[in-house]
Amino acid sequence: MTGARALRGFPFAAGDALFRQMLAYEARRLWRGVPPWLFVAAMPALFVLIGHWQAPGLERCHQMLPYLSLLNTALAAYVAWVIQRDRRAGADEITLAWPVSLLRLYLARTLALGTLTVTLWAEAVVLALGYAAVSYGTAACAAGTPIPVVQALREGGLILLSLTATFLAAQATGQLAAAMLPGVPGLVALVLYRAFTFGGPRLILGILQWPYALLASPEFLWDGWPWLARYLHLGVFADVYVAHQSFWVVGSVSALGALACLFRPRRDRATRASAALVMGTVIAVIAAAAPFVAAENRYARSHARAVSTYGEPVKPGLHSGPRREALSDTTAPAPARYDLVVDLTQPPEATISATLVLASPPGPGDDLELTLRRTFDVDEVRIKGVVVAFEREGDLVRVPAPSVPSGGNLAITLRYHGTVADWRLDPYEQPAALVASEFVYLPSTWGWYPVPGKHRLTWEIGMTSMVARALADRIVLFNDAEPTFAVNVRAPEGVRFLAGFVRGAGGTWRLDGMRNQLTLLGGNWVACGDGAARFAVPFEELDTWQAATADVRRLFDALADWTGVTPLTVVPSPVSFVNAGDVSLILDSQIGRLFEAPPDTVELARFARRWLYNLLSLQPRFLGPTVSELEGAPSATDREFDALRAYIVDRVLHDVYGVDAPPDPPGLVPPDDARVEAWTASTPLEEQQAALRHLFHDVLLRPLTPADLEFLHEGAAE
């Protein structure tokens, strides 16, 4: 059978004269009403009135979408009203006895309504894509570069997909409502459904998951209403967004097809085609949901891993507000000293003996609680060399505290072992902790050594995004305590470098010193250099590291002069990594960008400015509590500290490249910057360096307090 013949055999072949007549008749009836013309007029009005005219194309489209959802709710209600008006008026009593396929009849009505949907869609698409094209054109013209065609096409595709989903969904939901609940109840249900899908699934279920996510209306995602997005953290990932929009496109078309087939099913010849189409619809809907199912499976696997790791499922919950105060046990006794013997020679196994000395242990009769990740099996607990009974509960080890003379110390030794291969449950599956043949990562916040007090090591951030359930590590474990660490590590054979440790004989690594917490980070790197920066160089780059890091070393030397923090450990390109502190630095550090900078001094200085600033922001050894947007506005102290960091960058760049920062426009200098400027103007350079070195030493790994920046105000007062 040829394609044309097969098409003619279809009950609603477009070339069929009878079907054309039906379509023309239904379309004529539709367009003779006033509402379609109101919709047509509303579309450009919406575009003109809503959204910022300076916004990029896709951004503008997203600004418009929430308001478009109102228009489309009205459109859906109108569709519901139109599709059932013949039934309501009784006209179907006559029509249904005519020798026409009901499939054709319903399809003609659907397509007639489709002419309105397509008209509105075309209006929106022409306006949005035209705007995007102009936006790209003017931006490229101003920058003097060619139009980034690939990016423009991607953006255009997203706009097209988004608008197609939203308009098709309007018609499909309207017709579905009319099919399920005829009359006014159908309209009411429709409006309630649209309202519910706007925020309901997320509000009720906490986190949108398959299949509830599919119920969210297409305008709901991708930030939706700005205030709703802000409070519910609706930012979603591009792949989920595309999958969701595609689902609505395919699902809407399928639903309309299914409705046409199921419209008063009857036992005539069209039934066979109807049955085939209904089956096809079911398959199409299932296929459209596949990306969601895949994504959900991915998170289900992560969740299962969490269950196996933690012994219990991590409950979703809403976390908001500052994290540090909520998660640190301020009543716990402070540790004075740690002696750790760590054996990592059988990756992913870790066998550890930890002795901690408490300066102010709990009184007799009280239990001493230590937090140690539940991953580890505790083999033995000794107090003063005597084996004692202990209880293990989740991440806690509970031992009865013996009587200790007032002011005396208490030494507790724990021997434990466990497998370390833990992954964060975010979409990118970063390692939370890992012991492998060529890589070791044990962050302090993961709880790999016992910490006095009851600390929560992980929690799940609920409502962060549609499907992401990230396990977030806590930030501060010890509060203000700064115990002495004496650590011996036997690292895996492939680990040639352990950040902050000194290599000893027989593959052991040693670290001694006071610090707030300890992270083990090592890999197949080689420590090189003896200046302000020590470089952990990947094995394969040993021949080029000196040339590659020449400029960086100058920067680090200058930075060390101003901050007093040395030595810094740096892994040069291609691994973007700055001084082991947190795995996020590996991902976030901008050091790689510096190596990619052109060898022009001015350009290099420009890159270096950004790189250094980021370094000062991310580097735990320069820790200034950068307050994220979620936790509220930065305090005056934070702002002053930011201004100081900016000043340090200016000084370093001046010292290295002789480049001065451009002056701030007159009258636009923020008060915090002005305070720093006043201080620098009235203070000799040597005194500035001394104050800043003192500052960076004091705020090392603890929250910044207003008292730390008191010297700024003293300088200003003088």
Partner: protein, 294 residues
């Protein structure tokens, strides 16, 4: 086109609309009589392929329902008792659309507009039509395509006397091979056009026959009583009419037995024959009910 129903049953939930209906409708005009709720419209809908019988078989010409309903629809004209029309199209547009769907020509549309007396207003939107005019549009669409089976359910309800007469003429026009089923509870409409009558009551067929045979059903049920004051002797039965004829007061009575010693049996009309069929059916039902209670 012959229509044959065998033991047809239709239920709306627990309520029985048609029960054990067996009929053979041959070519000609058939009147379907019955009180409100008798099942007339349900029977029409089954034949119009809008309802599928729960039990029994329905055959229209060589086609069986519901399996071959599309074939039946090709040969069907149907005017439902209650219907609506799209308001924002003209009468002519609507009928042309209906003609296209039924495979009829535009010329036939014009002819039928003339027949139903709507040619002058055919360009006006249907929403401006009166109830009677809409009824005539409905009749015209039913007649489109020269149907072999014409089902008209209470077609005269909204029509004035002139239009009633005109409609009766249209329906009475004999066309070889056509079967017309004309449902009504107005007996006089049928007297002019129907060849045979079917009486439905409480979902069952109570009578099938000619007008004369239906009238004959009333023999022994209709009486006349002349110049008898009611106070002198109680008069039984139901008064059908009272009139003064040649200075004498004549009363026509409907009763199963002689309602008064002076009452004289009278020749029944078709309507009285219909009433007697219904009365017998009610009596039979009541008797069956009493037996059931005993």
């Amino acid at each position: 086109m012959d229509v044959t129903l065998r033991d047809v049953e239709v239920r709306y939930g627990r309520q029985v609309a048609l029960e054990g209906v067996s009929l053979e409708l041959k070519e000609g005009v058939w009147g379907l009589l019955g009180p409100n709720g008798a099942g007339k419209s349900t029977l029409m809908k089954v034949l119009a392929t809008l309802l599928v019988a729960d039990r029994g078989s329905v055959q229209v010409g060589p086609f069986r329902l519901p399996r071959q309903q599309h074939e039946v629809r090709r040969r069907l004209g149907y005017l439902p008792q209650e219907f609506g029309l799209p308001g924002n199209v003209s009468g002519r547009e609507y009928l042309r659309y209906a003609a296209a769907m039924k495979g009829a020509s535009s010329a036939e549309v014009d002819r039928l507009l003339e027949v139903v007396g709507l040619r002058e207003v055919a360009g006006r939107p249907l929403r401006s039509y009166s109830g009677g005019m809409k009824q005539r549009v409905g009749i015209a669409q039913a007649l489109l395509g020269e149907p072999d089976l014409l089902l008209v359910d209470e077609p005269t309800a909204d029509l004035d006397p002139e239009q009633r007469t005109r409609l009766r003429m249209v329906l009475a026009q004999h066309r070889p091979g056509r079967t017309v089923l004309f449902s009504t509870h107005v007996v006089s409409d049928l007297e002019q056009v129907a060849d045979r009558i079917v009486v439905l009551h409480r979902g069952r067929v109570r009578f099938v026959g000619t007008l004369e045979e239906l009238a004959a059903q009333g023999r022994g049920w209709v009486w006349t009583l002349t110049d008898v004051p009611e106070a002198a002797h109680p008069v039984g039965g139901t008064v059908l009419s009272e009139r003064l004829t040649d200075g004498r007061f004549v009363r026509r009575l409907f009763a199963r037995r002689q309602p008064h010693p002076d009452a004289v049996a009278a020749a029944p009309t078709v309507e009285e024959g219909y009433l007697s069929v219904i009365a017998r059916a009610d009596a039979a039902t009541a008797s069956a009910g009493q037996k059931g209670r005993k």
